[in-house]
Amino acid sequence: MQSLVSVDQLEVHFAVRTGFMQSMFGKETPVVRAVDGVSFELGKGEILCLAGESGSGKTTTGKAILRLVEPTGGKVLYEGEDVRSYNRLRLRAFRQEAQIIFQDPYESLNPRQTVFSTVAEPLEVNNLCRSLAEKEERVAQALVDAGLHNPRELFLRYPHELSGGQRQRLAIAGALVLDPKFIVADEPVSMLDLSIRAGILKLMVDLRDKKGIGYLFITHDLSLAWLVSDRIAIMYLGKIVELGSADKVIKEPLHPYTRALVSVIPTPRRKVITQQSLLKGETPDPVNVPAGCRFHPRCPEAKPRCREAVPLYREVRPGHFAACHLLDS
């Protein structure tokens, strides 16, 4: 598969703002290592899922690729070109091809913009339409592509007049209108009711099939990840701990963290939670990243070595990567 986006050792570190007194006395400013050396490749028309708990850096990774958050290190190659070296003009062109869909369709749409304005805005900003008729045509087409039929009736509606599912479709239409090749979908269905989720997911997968859009799908829900994606990457504290095909990661997880996550995947039919499967505690603050393997304080199988050395992220089986000392034999 041809690579669309290739991320190499991506880093996003934020300096935490400290009080005046602290900086006076020369205390070191703490650094949040939101993303700390993430590498992966996304093929054309591939759906890659970044999964992890809150604080794992998955959303920051997605935004850093689009330079909505400036990376502090590493490389992001888009069709072979380094996104970080783009000037303003080139960045603008890049942003026509790379779009983002946000989690909350109530917050990601301007409440004072009509459906038409919302979808037409990307066209206007980039001066893509010569005539009003052309603009209307493209807006209507994008709405239909996003599964909103009778688009012209919706043109003058406001987001608050739409249902949750319709709003998310509207947000998707706003991304589709530019004919993107790459979409970062940040928890696109987590705010929606179960009964309408499948429709949105199906739409996204269909668009991949029809238009060859590559997705970076960000979610905390492993069962969703398994359903929609080709490959899954599991993140923990700013690093990818495991990456492989969706089936392999869910059915034959290599990393103890993935195993724990998979064991608590919710299901309505049976009780799965047992004391053994539960990890103790919560993900630590990315300001104080544990030494050695970041996961060792919570790992049920940690060995002394895990406390000291950072495990190597390597291809354990063909196409299945993981970073864990227990896998080094």
Binding site: E53, S54, S163, G164, G165, D193, L194, S195, I196, R197, A198, G199, L201, K202, V205, H220, D221, L222, S223, L224, W226, L227, V228, A246, D247, I250, A260, L261, V262, V264, I265, P266, T267, P268, R269, R270, K271, V272, I273, Q275, S277, L278, L279, E282, T283
Partner: protein
């Protein structure tokens, strides 16, 4: 022994445009120490039921009919004075957003101790002792009682909320989406804790959630709500393995199951109705794939499928079937 018996509970919200029938003809039964899951999508009226039970409804809402009996005591007609004594000592509630429910400028322990002082008339020392014991019970280090909410992690805050809810040993705890904002792992931890506490102190639990799996994990019985009414009600296992109502079936089918086939389930078409103008007949008929002409006209009866398993659907009604034949 029956702890809570709700019959035909009906609650309306008054708006300028008319009244919103947020909860209509809801009947539930909870035995002592039992856990009931109240499942529904957003705006299905599940939170309205919860707020009606402890009578903490917003100003523009009122209980229009039905009865709520806690240990045989009628709550619908109870005066506010009386309710104040019942709240927290007999029924308590765990809210969804733990951060908003805790006062940010007071220590967590202080807020729990205060509850104990007010409701159990404990002295300062006793209250703090109990608070430490409660912290231990919900698995937080008791030495952290003097910390502020922002020093706690999300999971710990929700644990603190649970500690507060069980502080006065209530017989019934209502959890309104208690795990919704939490990570999967922390959610599992909190559910496990609730389960454990339920066995320990024999409290009844009503768990309100949009997440079927949470109910499967913790509840003995489940009530599925749709558009302000209960569509199906019965033992959790029975309902999840043999769902009778088309809505329940569709909901369960929409839930991704990693043991099953790797394919996207079909979603339920359309949106839940606006409860200002609920549709005539069965409220689900517009989205139901099996709807018959009758479903558009008449409200379905509640059918007893087998012991303790009920559903409101014309398709299950033998009388309707025999009429047609």
């Amino acid at each position: 022994m029956t702890l809570l018996e709700v019959n035909d509970l009906t609650t309306y919200y008054k708006l300028k445009e008319g009244r919103v029938r947020a909860c209509e003809g809801v009947s539930l039964r909870l035995e002592k120490g039992e856990a009931l899951g109240l499942v529904g999508e957003s705006a299905s009226g599940k939170t309205t039921v919860a707020l009606s039970l402890i009578k903490l409804l917003p100003e523009n809402a009122s209980i229009a009919g039905g009865s709520i009996k806690l240990d045989g005591k009628e709550l619908v007609t109870a005066a506010e004075e009386e309710m104040r004594k019942i709240r927290w000592k007999e029924i308590s509630i765990i809210f969804q957003g733990a951060m908003n429910a805790l006062n940010p400028v007071r220590t967590v322990g202080d807020q729990i101790a205060e509850t104990l002082k007010i409701h159990d008339k404990l002295t300062d020392r006793e209250a703090w002792q109990r608070t430490r014991a409660l912290f231990e019970k919900v698995e937080i280090d008791p030495d952290r009682v003097r910390e502020y909410p922002h020093e706690f992690s999300g999971g710990m805050r929700q644990r603190a909320m649970i500690a507060m809810a069980i502080a006065c040993n209530p017989r019934l705890v209502i959890g309104d989406e208690p795990t919704t904002a939490l990570d999967v792992m922390v959610q599992a931890q909190v559910l496990q804790l609730l389960q454990q506490l339920r066995e320990e102190i024999e409290m009844g639990l009503i768990l309100i959630t949009h997440d079927l799996s949470v109910v499967g994990e913790t509840c003995d019985k489940v009530a599925v709500m749709y558009a302000g009414q209960i569509a199906e009600y019965g033992p959790t296992e029975e309902v999840f393995t043999r769902p009778a109502h088309p809505y329940t079936r569709a909901l369960i089918a929409a839930f991704p199951d990693i043991e099953g086939e790797r394919a996207l389930a079909s979603s339920i078409p359309g949106n839940p109705p606006n409860l200002l103008y609920p549709p005539p007949g069965c409220r689900f008929h517009e989205r139901c794939s099996e709807a018959k002409p009758l479903c558009r006209e008449a409200q379905p009866r509640t059918i007893n499928i087998n012991n303790h398993h009920y559903a409101s659907c014309h398709l299950l009604d033998r009388q309707v079937k025999s009429c047609r034949a």
